[in-house]
Each structure stands twice: as structure tokens, then as C-alpha cells.
């Protein structure tokens, strides 16, 4: 992993003329280099005879992005590519520096989960200027679509709406609350909006609160504690991902309210599926980041090889899961057989971009 973070830190350390700090920087460089080596894999050249080098960029340490990266790395050799991974540490400037770094290394394409909407625009501008195709896993800005190899993401509104619709059917009446992810990028807002749209099917249900969990398990746990205190008769709780849902469930359990509150969520993480299996989460809309990244890589390599048209929006495959169909969920952490299955699935079809903000 050739993170610009290491380089940035080294510069600072030089300014400080500090040997121990330089040592730290070297340790970091060694660590990241080791990660890069592990992500390299033997690839069979594509039809053109060249092994493509694809830069995969993930914004943060969350398991979702990590598993997406793992999926891309595992699938790359079968697509005649090798993947070099970059980490943006939730920093827009770091992400832009990573894009510049990848361009200077003359990668053939960039596949990325962007840190934010504004970072996306800058990243795309840089990649366009260098004529490097860039594919965005979760592109939030419709105006960028003609400038990129493509966008792939869940249908943000529908993703939340399916959960709301399910709860509207399975909860007769009462108060419902929402714990959202971090606002500002558009996804957390869209999930909540979609959920409320779906919930509107049942007029006996009322959304009494919408509080932030910021994709953070501890914050979601606190939010659930506060919600159950303010609304002791709460009947339903939508938590926008399962990592936060696990924290919220713990809070409900400790308050003795878990049997009273139906918890629904999104993601399909291994621990989320486990919670669905033991009845702590009632339902979840699942999306495998590994499958998402493999599809993204397939489309990107197709665009580079001129077999796929650029500039389209694709919806990730999602599976709505309850206790009865857990095994239908696509795994987040697949083995090589799972990757081969992902590679054999029909390529996603472009959809209209009308749902994009």
C-alpha cells in the first residue's frame, strides 16, 4: 500500500530533524510496503497482452471498504490485472494525493470509494487531465457521470425503502426511530428518506426521532440508550448499518427492551447475518462489498479494453434478508470459489441516472 500518508509524514519528520520520528516513518513505510506486496498477485495478461495495473482506493478502515478491496485484489488476476491499493485515512487531501501518486505511477485505471462528494470532483478532474479512466464505487454527483468510467452503488433510496416497507408490514403500530450514518455524503440521508417512504405504507407507524450514529458503534449505542429513554414505548428501530446496529442492540438488551423493539438494518456483514440468525436483527438489506468491487473492476477493465461503454450508472446487487433466507446473502468475505462465482455472474446492466442527486 503506497500511501501518501507515509510520504507526508516523512516530510514533517525531516522538518523536525527527529531521528526517532524518522524511524517511525520508516516503520510506517515498511508496513505499507508489506501491505502492497501482499496485495500484488500473479495475473494473466488480458487480450491485449498487457497486465493492467489498477489503483484501488478506499477511504477508511471500515470492514466494508476493506472487504471490497480484498474482493478486487482476489479477482484481479482472472481479469488480467493487478491491483495496487491506497488508503485515504478519511482525508480528502490524502485521497487526492493518492490519485496523483497513482497517476504518476502510470496506472491503467482507478477504482475508488471516495471520501466525500467534493473529493470525488477533484479526483475525477485529476484523473481526466491525465487520461486515466476512473470508476467510482458510490458516485454521488450526477454531473460527474459523463467524466468517469462509471458509477456503481446500491439504489440509495430503494435500499432504505425496502427495509421501511418490510417494517410497515411486520409492525402493526407504534413509534419508530432512525439511527443514521454520517450525514454529508448523501447516502445516509437517502437511506433514511427511502426508509421513511417505505414506512409510509403503514399509517399507524410514526417516526419519532432521527439521531446520528455516524457509522460508529459506540455512538449508535449511546443514541439507542437515549432513544429508549426518551421513548420507552419505542417499537421499531432502523439503524443504517449493522455495525451500528450491534451497538444499538446491546443498549436495548441492557435496558431490557430488545424483545419490544424490532431492529432492522442494512449491510449483510458476517456479524449482521449472525444477529439476524439469532433474532436480534429482524431484517436487513444486504450488499456484498466484495461483489460490488469485483463488478466495478470488471466494468473498469472493460472500459479500458474498449469492450464496455464508459459513463454509465450501475446498481449493485442487493439481497433483502430475514431469518428465513440468510444463506441467500452474498458473502462479504468470499473464498476463491466465491470470487469465481462473482466473476461468472452476468455483468451489471446500466440503469438510468435519474435517481442520482
Amino acid at each position: 500500500m503506497h500511501s501518501q500518508l507515509t510520504i507526508g509524514l516523512s516530510k514533517k519528520c525531516k522538518l523536525a530533524c527527529s531521528m526517532p520520528a524518522r524511524l517511525l516513518s520508516l516503520l510506517l513505510a515498511g508496513f505499507f510496503a508489506a501491505s502492497a506486496a501482499s496485495s500484488g498477485a500473479e495475473a494473466t495478461p488480458a487480450a491485449g497482452g498487457k497486465i493492467l495495473t489498477i489503483a484501488f482506493m478506499r477511504p477508511g478502515p471500515d470492514p466494508y471498504y476493506q472487504d471490497g478491496q480484498n474482493g478486487a485484489v482476489m479477482a484481479a488476476p482472472s481479469l488480467g490485472a493487478k491491483v495496487v491499493t491506497y488508503f485515504s485515512n478519511n482525508s480528502q487531501s490524502q485521497e487526492l494525493a493518492n490519485v496523483e501518486d497513482a497517476i504518476s505511477k502510470q496506472v491503467d485505471g482507478i477504482l475508488m470509494y471516495a471520501v466525500s462528494l467534493s473529493a470525488e470532483s477533484a479526483d475525477v478532474a485529476k484523473a481526466n487531465a491525465a487520461h486515466v479512466p476512473i470508476f467510482l464505487l458510490y458516485g454521488y454527483d450526477k454531473s460527474l457521470l459523463p467524466k468517469v468510467a462509471g458509477f456503481e452503488q446500491v439504489n440509495l433510496i430503494e435500499y432504505g425503502k425496502e427495509v421501511g416497507t418490510w417494517l410497515a408490514k411486520h409492525l402493526a403500530e407504534g413509534k419508530v426511530a432512525i439511527i443514521t450514518g454520517l450525514l454529508g455524503r448523501g447516502d445516509a440521508e437517502a437511506y433514511a428518506e427511502g426508509f421513511k417512504n417505505g414506512l409510509a405504507d403503514n399509517k399507524q407507524l410514526t417516526v419519532v426521532a432521527q439521531v446520528p450514529g455516524d457509522w460508529n458503534r459506540q455512538k449508535a449505542q449511546h443514541a439507542a440508550q437515549d432513544l429508549i429513554t426518551a421513548h420507552p414505548d419505542l417499537k421499531g428501530l432502523y439503524v443504517e448499518n449493522e455495525d451500528m446496529a450491534i451497538g444499538a442492540i446491546l443498549a436495548l438488551k441492557r435496558a431490557g427492551k430488545l424483545s419490544q423493539v424490532k431492529v432492522v438494518s442494512c449491510n449483510g456483514a458476517p456479524y449482521g447475518l449472525e444477529a439476524i440468525g439469532n433474532g436480534e436483527i429482524q431484517a436487513s438489506n444486504t450488499c456484498s462489498p466484495a461483489l460490488e468491487a469485483v463488478m466495478g473492476l470488471r466494468i473498469l477493465t472493460g472500459v479500458i479494453g474498449h469492450t464496455t461503454e464508459s459513463g454509465h450508472l450501475y446498481y449493485s446487487l442487493t439481497v433483502f434478508v430475514t431469518k428465513d433466507n440468510i444463506k441467500d446473502a452474498n458473502p462479504w468475505v468470499p473464498d476463491q470459489t466465491g470470487i469465481e462465482k462473482f466473476l461468472s455472474l452476468p455483468l451489471l446492466k446500466p440503469v438510468a441516472d435519474s435517481d442520482l442527486p
Binding site: 520520528a21 517511525l24 478502515p61 476493506q66 426521532a209 460508529n216 458503534r217
Partner: protein
């Protein structure tokens, strides 16, 4: 005047011109905003919330608030000691993550829980010791050294977990995540013990007093024969130990350990300490003051959730309240 109450510099007091007699009564009646500014904002916040949301003052909600601030409170004590000595520790959050992950992974592999806890504490202490040695042995600012350590620890934690959380901490969840007696969360009791011990350490021990001296004026302390380097090593090591306790507490409360579990805690702990009245320049402040800052952040967050204030408005409200708390502490 004790450092806790605002002034450690006796020379300053001696050199200050004598107050004229007629001003004394007025001075006595005037609120010392530097010391009590945060308290006033906290009390006003509590009153306003209680009016709009009566459930705020129920026993269960007070227990909620206290358990919610427990981890940050413990970690803020570590940060307070370091800040008082004129340093800063940006690695406390990632120390929490790596130490928690250490305990979690060992538990996952069937190692007895008590061994896991000692391993986590050992890991946190070693990180503190390395921080202390690096800070003491060279001229680079602790900010950049501990920033490097933050990045390093985050990377290691992510590498060893593969980015996935460890979702079972065994009995730690029932011990540190549960209640101890009369429904009081164990984490709250632990917080109280750590705050008392930190206050005693700072006020009553030679090392604690030395921390104030170094933070107030490192050069003068050196000329007075205070072993600066050794003291810094001890202080950062102690901060590491406390971070380890915070790591176990957080893992117990969440029944999980995760590589990104400590993200942001370093800045929150600095913010809480500064809001409470422990300045970034060192030499002043104390455990009880920092606890006020932690309480203020906890109460604001809890009350905004209770009143179902949306996320964006929560950020605005939190920012405004923090600014008010800092501004009322004039003469900072």
C-alpha cells in the same frame, strides 16, 4: 492558589500589584469564570434540558449519561496529565483501539480473559513508554511524535484484524459493560476511581507536582534540578496505562474490539480537557476540571438526542455550546 484552581505561578502572584481595598468586596462577589465558566454552562445546559425534556433528570438517564462519558472521561484523565506537563498525546485513541484489539484477538483464540486484560494493559503501557522515550529523547514536538504513533498503531490494529471487528469479549462485557450495585454501571465507578486517583496523583505526589512545573516552565524546571526527561517518560507511560484501562472499558461496554474504535477519541479527549479548563500550554488544570469538560460534552450530546435534534443541528448546537464554554473562561 493550587494549580487546579487556576494559577501555579507563585512568582506571578508576588509580582501582581496589590489590589486596592475598595475592590475586595466586589472581587469576592465576582464569579471566577476561569475556574467555574464550564460549570456555569453545564448547569445552565442541565436546567434548560430538564425543562424541555423532564426525562433528562431521571435516574436511568443520569446513569446513561455517566456510562456514556466513562470511556472518554478515563481517556481525558490520561490526556490531562500529559497536557499539564506541556505535552500532548494524539495516540491515545489508537492506543485504545490496538490494546482493545489485542485483548479481543487473544480472547478469540481461547486465551483466558485475565491474561487478555493484562496483555492489553501491557500493550498500552508499552506504547506509552515508547511515546515517553521518543518525546524525552529528542526535540521534536510531542504533537508530531504522537501523530506518527497514532498512524502506526491504527495501521497495526487494522492489519491484525483485517478490518473486521472482534464481536465477543466474554465476561468483560458483563463486568465492565454491566452494573456493579444499585444499577450503577461499573464503568462509571471505574471512571470515578480514575478521576480521584488522577487528582491525587497531580496534587499530592512529587511526580504530579513536577508535571505542573515542567508544563509551567520547562527551562526553569531544568535549572531547578528537575529530571525533565525521566518525568516525561513516566508521564507518557502513565497515560499509556490509563489508555489501556479505557480500552478494556470500551471493549467491555461494546462487547467488541475494532481497529477504528478509537478514531476521534484523541481529539475529543483534548477538547474535553481544554473545555474543562486544562489549557494546551500546560502548567495548569486538573482532573476535576477536565471531568467538567467531559460532562459538558456528554450532557449536550445526551440532551440533543433526547430532544430528537437532527444530526446537522446537533453539530451546530454542540459547536456553539463548546464555544460558549471556552469563551466564558476568560483570562485563559
Amino acid at each position: 492558589m493550587s494549580p487546579e484552581k487556576g494559577g501555579n505561578n507563585q512568582l506571578e502572584a508576588k509580582n501582581r500589584p496589590a489590589q486596592k481595598e475598595p475592590h475586595r468586596t466586589a472581587d469576592r462577589l465576582r464569579i471566577d469564570w476561569t475556574t467555574y465558566g464550564t460549570t456555569v454552562v453545564l448547569v445552565v445546559g442541565i436546567i434548560i434540558t430538564a425543562i424541555f425534556q423532564p426525562v433528562f433528570l431521571t435516574v436511568s438517564n443520569i446513569a446513561n449519561v455517566l456510562s456514556q462519558i466513562a470511556v472518554l472521561g478515563i481517556l481525558t484523565m490520561a490526556q490531562t496529565i500529559v497536557l499539564i506537563s506541556g505535552g500532548i498525546d494524539l495516540s491515545v485513541g489508537s492506543n485504545v483501539a490496538l490494546s482493545g484489539v489485542t485483548a479481543g484477538l487473544l480472547f478469540l483464540h481461547g486465551v483466558p480473559l485475565w491474561v487478555d486484560c493484562f496483555a492489553a494493559l501491557g500493550c498500552a503501557t508499552a506504547i506509552g513508554l515508547i511515546n515517553g522515550l521518543l518525546v524525552a529523547q529528542n526535540r521534536a514536538h510531542p504533537f508530531i511524535i504522537t501523530l506518527g504513533m497514532l498512524t502506526l498503531l491504527e495501521g497495526i490494529a487494522e492489519l491484525v484484524t483485517g478490518g473486521s471487528p472482534v464481536n465477543d469479549m466474554g465476561a468483560l462485557a458483563t463486568i465492565l459493560g454491566g452494573t456493579i450495585f444499585f444499577g450503577i454501571p461499573t464503568a462509571v465507578v471505574l471512571l470515578f476511581i480514575i478521576v480521584v486517583l488522577t487528582a491525587l496523583f497531580l496534587a499530592r505526589t512529587p511526580l504530579g507536582r513536577t508535571a505542573y512545573a515542567i508544563g509551567g516552565n520547562e527551562e526553569a524546571s531544568y535549572l531547578s534540578g528537575i529530571p525533565i526527561k525521566r518525568t516525561k517518560v513516566y508521564i507518557y507511560t502513565l497515560a499509556g496505562v490509563i489508555s489501556g484501562i479505557a480500552a478494556l472499558t470500551l471493549s467491555g461496554i461494546l462487547n467488541a474490539a475494532e481497529a477504528n474504535i478509537g478514531t476521534g477519541l484523541e481529539l475529543q479527549s483534548i477538547a474535553a480537557a481544554v473545555i474543562g479548563g486544562t489549557p494546551l500550554i500546560g502548567g495548569r488544570g486538573g482532573a476535576w476540571r477536565s471531568l467538567q469538560g467531559v460532562l459538558l460534552l456528554g450532557v449536550v450530546s445526551n440532551s440533543l438526542n433526547l430532544m430528537s435534534v437532527g444530526a446537522n443541528y446537533q453539530n451546530i448546537a454542540l459547536g456553539v455550546i463548546v464555544l460558549i464554554a471556552v469563551m466564558v473562561q476568560k483570562n485563559r
